[in-house]
Structure formats: structure tokens, C-alpha cells
Amino acid sequence: MAEPAILSEAESRTESGSAGLVVSLRGVTKVYDSGVSALGPFDLDVRKGEFVSLLGPSGCGKSTALRLIAGLSEPTSGTVRVSRPAVAVSGGHSIGFVFQEPTLMPWTSVRENVRLPLKLAHVSAAQANARIDEALAQMALAEFADAYPRELSGGMKMRVSLARALVTDPDILLMDEPFAALDEITRFRLNNDLLALWRNLRKTVIFVTHSVFESVYLSQRVVVMTSRPGRFGTEIRIDVPEPRGEEFRTSAEYAGYCRMVSNALVPSYAGQPGS
């Protein structure tokens, strides 16, 4: 079994053809202590500024892949390469992570929740305040800065979670089914907000979802995964000119892509009983 490795940008740059890649997974597997094989071998390349969705049935290892990229868990074998350029601002962090749950600290206000990554990086209060204000404004949360998480709706909590991920000005935004627990109207609105953010800030986004419609609406590229263990199934490019909006959601083109992705998804759950 190959030695697992997480390499830095400096090393990955020396390899030919990897310029512009911010995330590169090669033959990555993950076997949990219980013996369950969750992932792989799995390959994935993501270019700078791309919006990529990982789509698959639940239990296909897409969340595992995301946690490996974030460094929250170690691969059993294979290599995970994430480019981490030197951050320009103090308290900057190259990766932002949004969980399926809002994952806020219930004991403190929205503002203090968003402050957390900066506080952990020892950013001075004055510097931090300006950036917190900016992140809150980006997510239309300015007026809710002093509210406590429990006073907010599910969609609002998710906005706070997003603002917290953005406050460090990350290059890569990893999102683990962030809108799965929300109602459809809130989800549509947050989809649009996320697209607008991506267009304006030019982040690289890796978005895990089990919704065909969400993946087609948001991404430039949909990676369909097969399940148990999760592998690279097919890849579908969504070649639609930006900006996308509500009219895209109701267009025939959108429906066509959704059909294509749905068909690609069939083999990944065809063999499974009762799922």
C-alpha cells in the first residue's frame, strides 16, 4: 500500500501539467477503523476558480473526499495535493469549510461566530472587525450581527456559516451538502447568492450534494460518483454561459442537463437493494 502523502504547493508545481490545479487527488482510498471501505481509489483534479460538484447517492464517500481535501482526515493510501499559496492578509486561511449543519457556537452571537477563524489566528480586534463587517455584508447579515444562532432560521444560520468560511478570504471553498436541510425556496435563494459570490470573488468551490438539480444549476462540472466504495463514475460539463439565473432553472437546456446527469447516476445505485 502506498504511503499516504499530503504535498504542498511547492512540490506539486514541479510536476508537468499540474499548473492551475488547486486540488489533485490520486488513487486516494479511505478505509475506516471499522473496516468499512468508504472511498476509492478515487482521482479528482480541480482547477483554480472552478465550481465542481461531487454528486452521488448517500454513503458514496463524497463527504469523506471533502474531509480528506480539508485535511480533517488522512487518506489510507494515495496522495491528496492541495495548493496552499502564501496568504496575503494576516489570519487568512486557504480553505473554507461549510458543513451540512450550520455548526455554529450556540453560546455566542453571530458576530463572534464569524470572528472565530480570525480569533484563532490571533488577528487584532480592529483588523478583524473590518473583515467581519465585510463578510456579514456579503451574506446580507449586517443587521443580525448581535443575534444568537437560536434566534435565526435555518437559512440564516447557513448564511452565518458561509460568512464564517469567507472571513478568512479562502481560495478554496469546500461545501458538504450545505443546503440539504433547507426548504426549497430558501435553498433556491442561497443557490443564487452562492453563484453571485463565486462570480464576484472567483473562489474555487467543491460542492458535495445529492441533488441532481442543485448540481446542474450551480456547477461548471458535475462529477458523478459510484457507491460503496466511492469512485469516479462520470463527469459532465455544464456548458452554459454565465451568469445563470432563475430563467436558466426553467429552461429546456437545464432540463436536458438534469436528464443527462440523472441517467449518469443510475449505474451508481442500480445494484443497490431498496435504496
Binding site: 474531509r67 480539508a70 485535511g71 480533517l72 486561511h93 480553505i95 469549510f97 458543513f99 449543519e101 455548526t103 457556537m105 450556540p106 453560546w107 455566542t108 472565530l116 477563524p117 480569533k119 484563532l120 489566528a121 446580507a140 443587521e143 443580525f144 443575534a147 444568537y148 444562532p149 437560536r150 434566534e151 435565526l152 432560521s153 435555518g154 437559512g155 440564516m156 448564511r159 478568512t168 426548504d183 425556496i185 430558501t186 435563494r189
Partner: protein
């Protein structure tokens, strides 16, 4: 609060505090009044019945004093009793602080090192399950009386703090812990910004139990010290009055102990409520 759902951008409606749910219908207000009043009615009926039984049967005060006799003793002996009350309260406070510091400190140590936890936790359990009334005489042999009393209060008080704090430190949200790791938090930062706040409701619950138990520990040690001791706590007064057949003073001292216990519990419950009221489910109105 439901109006907030799905309308994330309506800022103004948020300012209505969520705790105003208490001002409900007149019906429920009357119900609450009854709930508060009923125990007092029971108390009044009990006192009257007690007094009547004593008077109608002409029971002498050294067998059973009536409430009026107890009250007269309470006022008449206030000098002695208040001094004793102060002594017992001070002991309880010292035992409680020791239990809080010891319990939280041990839990933090256990959280840092699994080996330490495996080695020491069984002994914490043994200390807890051995009846303190049986340990107290031994402690009185080896320690000065005042110290022995405080150690007794500590022994009974620290375990609930230890086990509750341990539970709290272990129930930190997994994803939040991951987030702290992602942002490279130091162990100290994780402790101060994540583990301690997350454990706070549990710690406060432990302290609430420890407050009452510290009083019990102090009383047990005072009783064990008994006539041999030079102490002047309330429990000592009870024992002393028993020997002298001064039954009204026994009742008066007992009454003061009960009131002290209630006040300690009330203060800790209030502290817990004030600390948690903005965010924790336990401190929020049911309607929310």
C-alpha cells in the same frame, strides 16, 4: 418566531425578545399563581395542625415543641444560632469551592490525558460510593477538625462536578471540533473557546448538585466530630441540644439548616439561569 422562517432579510422583526412567552393567557397566569401558592397553603395547614396537636394533647416541649416554641427559641437563641449558622455556611462554602475547583480541575486533567483518567477515575468512584459518614471519624483522627470538616464537604461535593464536567467536555459537537482543527487552533484555544463553553451547562448542573451535597458533607462531619470537637456549627448545636434535651433548639437549628440548603440551591439555580439564558435550551421558555 415562526415569522422569521423563510424571510431571512426582514431584519426588524428579530428584535422581539424570544423570552416574552411568559405573558400568555389569564388562564395560565392563574395556574402559575396557584402553583406558587399551593406549597404555602400546605405549609400553613401543617404548622397549624402541628400546633393544635401539641396544645390539645399537652405535649411537653422536651418531647415535641410546637412551632411557636421553636420560633421563640429561634428568636431567643439567635445569638448562638446565627454564629453556628455562619460557621456551617463558611465550611460549606469552603467545601463547595474545593469541590468545584477539584472537580473541574480533575475533569480537565482527565480530558488532556486518557492514561490519567484510566488510572484515577476508579478511585474517584470509590471515594464517592463509600458513605461519607463512615469516612468522617477517620478523617477526624488524622486531620485538624476544621480541615476534616472541609475535606468531608469536598468528598461528597466533587464527584458530581467531576462526572458532569467530563460528560460536558466529551459532548462537544464533532463538526465544531473539526472546524477548530481546520483553522489550526491550539489546545488552549480549543479548551477556552470550544470545550469549556460547550461544557458550561453540564458544569453548572454539577455545581448545583454539589452545593447541596457540600452542606450535607459539612453537617455529617460536624455530627461525627460531636461532643469531642470544639466546633460550633449548626449540626454540632443539634447534637449538643440533643444531649441537653433542648428539643426546641434542635428544631430551630434544623430549620436553619433547611433554609440554608434551599438558599444555596436557589442561588446556584439562579446563577445557572443567568449564565445560560441567552442560548441554552434548559434556560429558555418551553414555548420557544
Amino acid at each position: 418566531m415562526n415569522s422569521l422562517r423563510n424571510s431571512p432579510l426582514q431584519a426588524s422583526s428579530l428584535q422581539a425578545p424570544a423570552l416574552s412567552a411568559g405573558s400568555a393567557t389569564p388562564d395560565s397566569r392563574a395556574l402559575r399563581l396557584v402553583r406558587i401558592l399551593l406549597p404555602f397553603v400546605v405549609l400553613a395547614v401543617g404548622i397549624v395542625a402541628w400546633e393544635l396537636v401539641v396544645r390539645l394533647n399537652d405535649i411537653p416541649p422536651y418531647v415535641l415543641p410546637g412551632p411557636s416554641a421553636v420560633f421563640r427559641t429561634l428568636v431567643g437563641d439567635w445569638g448562638v444560632l446565627s454564629q453556628s449558622l455562619l460557621t456551617t455556611l463558611l465550611t460549606t462554602l469552603e467545601g463547595f469551592v474545593a469541590a468545584a475547583v477539584g472537580g473541574i480541575g480533575l475533569a480537565l486533567l482527565f480530558n488532556q490525558s486518557k492514561w490519567l483518567e484510566y488510572s484515577l477515575f476508579p478511585y474517584a468512584v470509590i471515594l464517592q460510593v463509600t458513605p461519607v459518614i463512615a469516612i468522617a471519624p477517620l478523617l477526624l483522627i488524622y486531620l485538624p477538625q476544621q480541615t476534616a470538616v472541609i475535606v468531608c464537604a469536598w468528598i461528597v461535593g466533587f464527584f458530581p462536578v467531576l462526572s458532569n464536567t467530563t460528560l460536558g467536555l466529551n459532548s462537544v459537537d464533532r463538526n465544531l471540533a473539526g472546524l477548530f482543527r481546520l483553522y489550526g487552533a491550539s489546545p488552549l484555544q480549543t479548551l477556552c473557546y470550544l470545550k469549556l463553553p460547550a461544557a458550561l451547562p453540564f458544569i453548572l448542573g454539577g455545581l448545583r448538585i454539589a452545593g447541596g451535597l457540600s452542606l450535607i458533607g459539612a453537617v455529617v462531619a460536624e455530627i461525627a466530630a460531636g461532643s469531642a470537637g470544639a466546633g460550633s456549627g449548626l449540626a454540632y448545636r443539634i447534637a449538643e441540644s440533643g444531649y441537653r434535651l433542648n428539643i426546641p433548639r434542635m428544631f430551630a437549628a434544623l430549620l436553619l439548616l433547611s433554609v440554608a440548603g434551599i438558599v444555596i440551591y436557589g442561588l446556584l439555580a439562579l446563577t445557572s439561569h443567568l449564565v445560560l439564558r441567552r442560548w441554552h435550551e434548559s434556560a429558555l421558555g418551553k414555548e420557544n
